[in-house]
Amino acid sequence: MSPSSAATVTRIATDSGPGSAPKNVLHLDEHTLEIVSDSGEGAQKCGQIFASVSAKMNYGVWTVEIIPAEIEPPARTAAGASGNLIRFGRDKVTNWGDETNLVVAFNEQVLLARHRLDALSDDCIILIESKWAEDPDAEIRQEWQDAMEEISDRNYRVIPVPMEEQCLTRVDNPRKGKNMFALGLLAQIYGYDVEKISEQIRAQFAKKPPEVSKANVDLLELGVHWAQENLDLRIEVPRIETDEKRVVMNGNQAAALGAIASGMEFCAMYPITPATSVSQYLCDVFERYGGTMHQAEDEIAAAGAAIGASYAGKVALTVTSGPGLALKTEFIALAVMTEIPLVVLDVQRGGPSTGLPTKVEQSDLLAALFSQPGDAPRVVMAPATIEECFHSMVTARRIAKSFRCVVIVLTDANLASGQQQFQRPVLDERWHAAPANHRAVTSGERPYDWDPDTGLSRRIVPGQPGGMHTVTGLNHDHDSNVDYTPEINQLGCAMRSRKLAVLQQTMSPPPIHGDESGELLVVGWGSTKGAIEEAVDRVRAEGHAVSSTHLTFLSPMQPGLGEIFSRFEHVMTVELNYSDDPAAPYITPENRRLGQLAFLLRAQTLVDVDCWTRVPGQPLRPGHIADALRRKLSAASETEVRVNE
């Protein structure tokens, strides 16, 4: 062990000497903490409870799940790190920030995982299970030493905590209780109300026998007590009281609840990460609202069943992720062609192919727009926050129904599992479908009574006397009769396309974050909004004329983009998908692969939209984005200088 790391460990030991009472309290506007453990040790539950309580205390909150890629990775390995990151603060928190300020780690290997990802601030406080340092197994002791050595170049403050030893005073199997003990440590450090946390624990375990809650609360209190006795560490984050009614949940819960609120009554799916939790949630509760969840034999059948249900009068939903979306390609075209309303929720993950199944990416945009052979216009929208996950389902259903079209909603693994609080939605009966009314079809009404201007028409559904007809994926006329003539084919294509133009005309230009004009405009879509805006704010604070805008609709595109772009000297997208590094070998401006939105925007506006994109399998950091913006600004000014010379 190198002297410096020995020093670190020594310093800590002093810190956590028994009986020392907190000497000083840190006052901060926000803090980012993580709990990481081996998979199965409960760090995620600990983090979720901490986040929920933080939200209920009116802190701004954003959480990110730390998920291992395997089901049960080997214990004590970097690959196995599992847990939760919580950024909370006085103000609204919209993203996971730049780095973590405090970690509770159940072993040194999972800590290393985080360290190696550069996830921790240089002065990060680390509370770590101390037992490994003196493990009977020499190999483990060595691993501990090596880990301390490896992290010794940073100024982390490492505080060993005898978690297991403490837990053993209350329970037989300490692996099961550590997470609550850790929660107790955090409660004490951040000065949370223990009773509030106990309540949350009881709510979480409501379905289990009361002993379970009791045992967990015991361990929580043990943690609080131990921290009071041993930790010279208090962090206080101020909070603002508010009367606003709020809820806190993750994006998959929000989307599921949004689907129910929207009045959808049928959802078919096939399990796939990271979309599963939406469907699992609906599997649990949808029936209570008269809704049917159908787990189909595959994604094709799920799309088919959803289309069948919509055909029969519903507006059905199908939920999936990349590989599943790929399988639905053919059926989506059928829905477009037959003008059967359908909502497709795609929770994006890392691609291509199986890719990074548990990790975040925003790279299904072009597939969502263009994957169907033939011309198949459809609506594509992307919520940017947890709140929007809820409301976009309501909007999606409404558009699908009124426009008899397919609406694809793109969320991602970051929104899916991140928790945030937002204004409690005020539910509205008008979101629901009118109850089925099988009125007779009057003579002259036709299944595709396209309004020649708008392409809109009213559906006729089975059960309506006099409305009998056969829908078909073949080209068809107003009566749904198969038709191969050039005029009718041209007409059908035009009508299906026209609906999008009509929808586009009802939209407003996207709002601008920052000034309405300036040097650089950053454009984003989806879950990156919070990080982009935070980065923009930082760079603005440095005096740069940077603004950003965020697109909710990707098809049709919101109006006014060209006009907005013209007010900025430079436009670039920031996206969580792949683009070629312009400086890489063989890459020229002509052959450079661009971020997916950048590509779309260039075609749409003919503006030379640049992009900065990455595919790290984790959310973008505001700090990294800010760096990219600074580089873009200085490159731009260099070019200008050169031009001026």
Binding site: D298, A301, A305, G308, G463, V471, L474
Partner: protein, 317 residues
């Protein structure tokens, strides 16, 4: 549709309309002259008339193929889907609208090749619908390619030196699937038997799978031509709980009593294809129906909003 549901949805049984064949459609089908599909269409209309099916409560779902054009020639609701995927669509229709009578018309390529996975699962779900497999042992619409049921050695455009493998037996395949509840076979050239089979299939509550041997004079004429001419190559399965068509007894000499509740025997009868057996191989009305299991009450928007507000309370800050 079960009587239960009929009365639940207040339609059908208490509707005293009667219909004639033309009420179910009178357009001229675009199948070749001599195509077996014509006969199936007539039989289906006859069955619907006899059972007094309401055109507006009846949905025919199909995939893609000559056979899948079926819904276009009926004046009921129809869904001409995509190749191989009629069953998932029909699943969605029936699950969300139990008041509708759902029929599926599919071909041997549509059902047994590209649609095989859905076929297996639909059999297992045992959703109450009637499935007509129009098996002409060939791809008709795309003009003469080998299908899973094409006889070994038969020359087609894709296996021009003779089809490589023995024909798939759709009956034994269906009978192998857990929760299969109705498996029958009939032929387009025995209209009385066809009609009786359709009735039995419709009346069975569950997934009624009927393989209809269907002539395609255009591309697979030799497969069924001798067969269709020769009653002696057939064997009619009869039983009090199956079907009996006394009018055929004179012509069809080979008859075999078979209790459709006997699965083992059904399988062995299906396996042995020396004789073409027509009748109900297997029937079990006690097998669980997915649509019945999943049947749900409906709530008003107001009720749902009240419930949802309670759910939101759980997330309240």
């Amino acid at each position: 549709m079960s009587e239960q549901l009929r009365s639940f949805f207040g339609c059908g049984l208490d509707d005293d309309r009667t219909f004639d064949l033309n009420d179910y459609g009178d357009s001229i089908p675009r199948w070749c002259v001599g195509c077996g599909d014509h006969g199936v269409l007539s039989a289906v209309k006859r069955m619907m008339r006899d059972q007094r099916l309401l055109p507006e409560r009846t949905v025919f779902v199909s995939g893609i193929g000559c056979s899948s054009r079926f819904p276009h020639y009926l004046d009921t609701y129809g869904f001409h889907g995509i190749h191989g995927r009629a069953l998932p669509i029909a699943t969605g229709v029936k699950l969300s609208r139990p008041d509708l009578d759902v029929f599926v018309v599919t071909g041997d390529g549509d059902c047994c090749s590209i649609g095989a996975g859905h076929w297996l699962h639909a059999t297992r779900y045992n959703i109450d619908m009637t499935v007509l497999l129009l098996d002409n042992a060939i791809y008709g619409l795309t003009k003469n390619q080998t299908s899973p049921t094409t006889p070994e050695g038969f020359e087609t455009n894709t296996q021009p030196h003779g089809t490589y493998l023995p024909a798939l037996n759709p009956l034994s395949t269906a009978l192998g699937v857990t929760n299969a509840s109705f498996v029958a076979q009939t032929a387009d050239w025995v209209p009385a038997h066809l009609l009786a089979t359709l009735k039995a299939a419709y009346e069975h509550v569950g997934f009624s799978f009927v393989r209809i041997l269907q002539r395609c004079p255009k591309f697979s004429a030799p497969v069924f031509s001798e067969q269709a001419r020769t009653p002696d190559l057939h064997e009619l399965l009869f039983h009090s709980d199956g079907i009996t068509v006394p009018s055929l007894d004179k012509i069809y000499k080979h008859r075999l009593e078979h209790d459709p509740s006997d699965l083992d025997r059904a399988r062995s009868l299906a396996e042995d294809t020396e004789r073409t057996r027509l009748g109900i191989f297997f029937k079990d009305a006690t097998r669980p129906c997915y649509n019945a299991i999943r049947h749900l009450p409906t709530y008003t928007a107001a009720q749902n909003i009240e419930r949802l507000n309670r759910e939101l309370d759980r997330y309240a800050v």
